[in-house]
């Protein structure tokens, strides 16, 4: 068993991730599923950002005159990846919400079971 506080960030991430996962698979409302997906997504962001953190580090912005002065910076690479991921995430969210609006127009409901029920007789 590794040291408890050192792994605590991963466990928070997992709890959040599983909350989102549960909303996605257990709830029938499509908007709720998108919200669940967002929770899941943000937990992944937190995972990456928390891995990039270095003890005693500061934000990776170089201030004039401190170059080579032994300042510790947090890892900038996960930040870049997550910036991209946030934007891609909003793109998928927008697409999902647009699909929901169309489903509402076509079926008159956004509850999964009612949609299945309408599909059955055909």
């Amino acid at each position: 068993m590794a040291d408890f506080p050192g792994l605590f960030n991963y466990w928070i991430v997992i709890v959040l991730m599983m909350t989102g996962f549960y909303v996605v698979i257990a709830r029938g409302n499509l908007v709720k599923k998108i919200v669940g997906l967002n929770i899941f997504q943000t937990s992944v962001f937190i995972l990456y950002i928390s891995m990039g953190k270095v003890d005693g580090g500061t934000a990776p912005i170089i201030v004039e005159g401190t170059v080579g002065a032994g300042v510790t910076y947090s890892n900038p690479l996960p930040h870049v990846l997550i910036l991209t991921a946030i934007v891609v995430g909003i793109a998928t969210t927008a697409l999902g919400l647009a699909l929901i609006v169309r489903i509402k127009e076509a079926y008159g409901t956004i509850e999964e079971d009612e949609i299945f029920a309408k599909d059955e007789p055909e």
Partner: protein, 161 residues
Amino acid sequence: MGIVRLDNLLAVVMLSGIYSLISAGLFVTLDAVDVAFTEASVGGGIATVLMLATLALTGDTEKQGKGKLQFMPLAVVAVTGALLIYGTLDMPSFGDAMAPIHQHVAPRYIAEAPQTTGIPNIVTSVLASYRGYDTMGELAVIFTAGIGVMLILGTGRRRDD
């Protein structure tokens, strides 16, 4: 979490906006200021507005009934979570400067980025310079999504006329 239990979707969307803002604050404390800006504006702002617009078109109450915790999904979630926690036992601990993630290209970015790109913000220089192709791919994704949204919503409106 309230989001799981609530039936009123308006409240759910508001809570998810608050959740985005809280996570933006968390990113600031984790030294990721650029990510925090983006999360606050995109996650807390644009996503909330988009969801509110969707709710205005689709109605804001979730169907009652299956308010109880469902057993099957809960079991799947519990097993997955347990496996993931087992997986973290080998992970480097929080804030460890010797973790593998800090040993590969990151030191080079930090050491060389100001000289090679002339931008003091390392995140910006990596995003726009070292990983410019990633960012271009990201733009392609947004563009595709934008076209997709316009196609999905546009055709429906034309058929109604």
